[in-house]
Structures are given as C-alpha cells and as structure tokens.
C-alpha cells in the first residue's frame, strides 16, 4: 500500500543542512497498522510527512496505493491526498467551524443530502453524534481527536497517517482513541501508519513496527518479534520503557544502593521467549545448580496475544555454577543477559 524507496529529506537551516531522514526504504501492506517509533528528533514525523508529501523528499520515491506521488503534478497530488487521511498531535481542527462543519470540510462540492448523510454516519462511528453543533473549543482533547479522525475519514481514504495523535492525551483517552483506530482499521480496511514515541501505543495496536534513530530505520519487523528480541540499543530502551525493567538501572545507580551484590553474585536479566513462561525455571535452576536466586523484578506482557516477559534476578553460587545455569536456560529459549556482577 505504501512504499518508500531510498527516501531522504534534508532541511536547510541557515547555512547548516540537517538531514532529517536518511535513505529510508519501507513497505507497508494494505490493511495493516504500522508503527514508526523514535525519540524526538529521530525523523519519524518528517518521514510520515513524506508519505503524503507535506514534505517533499529530497531524494527517493514514494508510492501510495499504486500511484507514485513523487512523480505527480501539484494538482494530481492534491487529488491523491484525499485518499490519505491525517490526524495530528494538536488535532488541528478549524476553530471557526462546528464539529459538523469540520467533518464536512473535505466533502465540499457534494450534494447537501450526501454531505449530511456522510457526516452523520462518521459522527456516529466516532461516538459524537450529540456534539455536531459544538465548536472545538467546547470539546475535550479526546473528543477533538475523534472529530479529527471523522474528518480524516470523510473522503474515504485508503491510508490514515497518525502523527503523534495520542501524545497530548491522558492514558485512558489514549487507549480509547487507539481502540477507535483499530476499529477503523478492521471495519473500513484502512491502512494505518502510527507515529509515536510511546512503545505502549505500538504494543497496543500495531502489527509492524519501524524503529527510527538519527533519521534511519534501525530496526523493523512484526511487533512481537521486535519486542521479544530487540537488536538495536534504542529498541531495547523502548521495549524496556513499557515494562519496569528500565528501573533496574536506576536502582543500580541509586546512591542508597538498594541492590547489593556480594562477591560471586550475578545480576541477571532473563527474557522469556514464546512458551517458556509456563515452566518453573527458577525452581529448576536453583535445584539443579544449587544457586540462590532472588527475584527483583518481573513482568509479563501480552503482545499480539503472545505472552512475553522476563525477570531480573540476583543469582549467587559462584561463576561456574552460574555459567552452567545460563547455558541451561539458553537451551530453554530464555535469553540471559548479565547486567552486573559483584
């Protein structure tokens, strides 16, 4: 549905040239929800804007729905953009128009009856039928984003770009907007691209994920795979940010030393892959290798219906026994990482 080939985007900032996107190629299948995640400045918003050519790439080819956008004239491009909806972090609703007027904006030129029918059905889809005559300033953030979604869907787009659409919302509202996006994806078959800096958003609804850093896509794949075995350091940081594992480093660095490692103790992180969660692994290794295992942190997540979890433990019993235990765990599909040792 969406194909980017060697897309780069440079900005001239005074005498400096900033390369926001560097040689990105990606392919997003029709009907999927793809996430693009990165810290601020990673280039993810610029990349999203390259999909509908709000930013024209300096190099590379952008193809959406079979049409090569980078080869179109301005007029043809405007027609194509009607098939690519977009929603934004700050909603970007027209303050001078009512909810109804905002949703009707892209429908100009159609008959009154047709517009009315379309607007009513969209407002019903997003659950705001009773707010048709309200102005955006009278709505909450979540309601505004719902109006923005209805407006973006008015011209029956094939693709919906969501640029940090939940970043200004509280967690509860974020979840409800994500549910709505998922529903839009399922019922209307709209391909959705979600730009975010929150791994929780990716985890919640995406099928595929692209991790960006310094203008490049450093890692990509289906969400479970990326969560289960993140390769790039930045991906690991994002994955950790959704569980409490990121706290282990804080605990280690804390001047109060809440974690004390005696000589011969190892601080290990065990990542459970696939079905290994159901085995009594900790009891096993402490019995087999005569280890003292103290569990500090634990977490299990459901990604795409698959359990994914891990533990952070302090294992005591000496180097040799621990090495043997690590080998045993690795055979059972548990990824072991030594965080620190005493």
């Amino acid at each position: 549905m969406i194909q980017l080939e060697h897309v780069s985007k440079q900005f001239e900032a005074g005498k400096q040239t900033v390369e926001a996107v560097k040689d990105v190629s990606l392919h997003i299948e029709k009907g999927t929800i793809a996430g693009i995640i990165g810290f601020s400045g990673a280039g993810k918003s610029t990349l999203a804007r390259c999909i509908n050519l709000l930013e024209r790439p300096t190099e590379g080819k952008v193809t959406v729905g079979g049409a090569e956008l980078t080869a179109l004239s301005e007029r043809q491009l405007r027609e194509k953009r009607k098939k690519i909806g977009m929603i934004f972090q700050h909603f970007n609703l027209f303050a001078s128009r009512t909810v109804y007027g905002n949703v009707a904006y892209p429908l100009k030129g159609r008959s009154k009856g047709e517009i009315d029918q379309k607007v009513r059905s969209l407002l019903e889809l997003v659950g705001l039928s009773d707010k048709a005559e309200a102005y955006p300033s009278q709505l909450s953030g979540g309601q505004k984003q719902r109006v923005a979604i209805a407006r973006a869907l008015a011209s029956n787009p094939e693709v919906l770009l969501s640029d940090e659409a939940t970043s200004a919302l509280d967690p509860e509202t974020t979840r409800s907007i994500l549910r709505l996006l998922k529903e839009v994806n399922r019922t209307l078959g709209v391909t959705i691209v979600i730009i975010t800096h929150e791994m929780g958003v990716i985890k919640e609804i995406c099928d595929q994920v692209y991790v960006m850093e310094g203008g490049r896509v450093v890692e990509s794949g289906d969400v479970f795979q990326v969560f289960a075995s993140p390769r790039a350091a930045v991906t690991r940081r994002f994955v950790d940010s959704t569980s409490n594992f990121s706290r282990i480093q804080e605990l280690l660095d804390d001047p109060a030393h809440p974690i004390r490692l005696n000589p011969g103790d190892y601080l290990l992180r065990l990542n459970y892959l696939e079905r290994s969660t159901s085995e009594a692994l900790i009891s096993n290794i402490s019995r087999r290798f005569e280890l003292d295992v103290n569990i500090l942190l634990g977490s299990i997540e459901l990604i795409d219906g698959n359990p994914l979890g891990g533990l952070v433990v302090v294992a005591g019993g000496g180097h040799d026994k621990i090495t043997a235990a690590v080998a045993y765990l690795s055979k059972r599909n548990v990824l072991v990482e030594v965080i620190s040792h005493g």
Binding site: L54, R78, E79, R81, G85, M86, F88, H90, L93
Partner: protein, 226 residues
C-alpha cells in the same frame, strides 16, 4: 432641548446647517473610502502574507515589491500624502478637492494600513490548520478562502476597526486640504474664528463616532470567536 443647546453652545446652533453638512461629508468620506479599502486592502493583506517565504503562495519578488509599496505609503504622514496625490486624484476622479478629491489619498493611506492589519491577523491562524487543509488536498486558493479568511474573521474585524478609526483621523486632517468634513469645520470656526464651542462639539462628535465603530467592531469580533 433646542432652547438648552442654544444656551450652552449658541455658536454651534447658529451654524447647525454647516455642522450637519460637515458631519455628512465625514460620513461619506469614511464610508466610501472604507468600503473601497476593504475591497482592496483584504486581498492586499492576503498577498502580503501568503507570498512570504514559507507561505502557501510563496513568491519572493512579489512579496518584496508589495512590502516596499506598503511601507512607502505608510511612512508618509497623511497631510503630505494628500498634497502628493492631488495630481493623481485629478487624473482619476477629475478633482483634487472636496469629498471626491480626497478619496484617492485616503485610499493610499488606508489600503496599506489595512493590508498590514490583515497580514498580522492571518499570521495568527495556527500553521497546523494549514497543514491539515493541505493534507486534505485543498488548493492554495481554497486554503485562503476556506481556512485563512474564515479562521481570521475575528482578527480581520479588529484590523478593520482600527483602520476605520484611523480613517476618521485622516478625514479630519483632510479638512485642512480642502476636503470638507468635521475637521474642516473645526478648523474654519473653532480655530480660525476662535470659537472653542465649535472645537469641543466636533471633538465630542468624533469621540462618539469612534466609540461606536469600536463597539460594533468589538461585538462582531466577539461573535465570530468560538
């Protein structure tokens, strides 16, 4: 009432016919040049804003030239602008005096003024809205009509209000250039014949006029803000 006025401002009552005529001339000058200024000043402001670097109709030469024209006419005090444009006025409307003769100089003063007001009103429309409209496939002209001008109604109304207030100010100055109106009336009698009653009456009328314009402008701007 008439008796009372006759006691307080006899100098004015004696000349009430002239006062009415002067008042009517001022209203004519303000409404005619005000209306024409709207027709030209708003598009002028739109062009000033949209041809800027990064604007939706970006065009550096056009923006540069429009900006210079604007600044040139805005920097000339109205009394000198009136003198400067007498020739042009004769050429266009056939006379350089009276209400007819002052319209052209008034336009050259108010159109650039209103243009800048409109420009800053448009600058207040959040850039995100333009981006959203572009993403929905709107053309630049559609964005001007359906986004900029619609979203900026409160700002433009405030700009128009300020423009009309300064237009009233210009028409008083125009009195010294043979245009008639309240300014001329005050200068002829209040100043030259040393009749302070005339001066004070004219001041009072202009204050009421300006307040009325401010009130109406403020009301419309408030109504248009959602």
């Amino acid at each position: 009432m008439a008796e009372l006025l006759n006691q307080i401002i006899p100098d004015v009552v004696v000349r009430s016919d002239q006062l009415w005529r002067a008042f009517w001339e001022t209203i004519q000058m303000v409404s005619i040049s005000g209306a024409i200024s709207l027709v030209f000043g708003i598009p002028f402001g739109v062009l000033l804003f949209t041809t800027k670097e990064g604007g939706i109709l970006q065009n550096r030469p056009v923006n540069f030239i429009l900006g210079k024209i604007c600044d040139f006419f805005r920097s000339i005090p109205f009394i000198l602008l009136g003198i400067l444009l007498i020739g042009l006025s004769r050429l266009i409307v056939g006379t350089g005096i009276g209400v007819r003769g002052i319209i052209i100089p008034l336009l050259f003063a108010t159109i650039p003024f209103l243009g800048r007001q409109v420009e800053s009103a448009l600058a207040e429309v959040p850039a995100g809205l333009i981006e959203a409209a572009e993403a929905m496939g709107s053309s630049p002209w559609e964005i001007v009509w359906r986004v900029y001008l619609k979203e900026a109604v409160p700002g433009i109304t405030r700009g128009v209000t300020i423009t009309i207030v300064s237009l009233i100010n210009f028409t008083a100055v125009a009195g010294t250039l043979g245009a008639g109106g309240l300014g001329n009336f005050a200068i002829m009698y209040g100043h030259s014949k040393n009749l302070p009653q005339i001066t004070w009456t004219v001041i009072l009328i202009i204050v009421v006029l300006v307040s009325a314009v401010q009130f109406v402008g403020g009301y419309i701007a408030k109504k248009a803000t959602h």
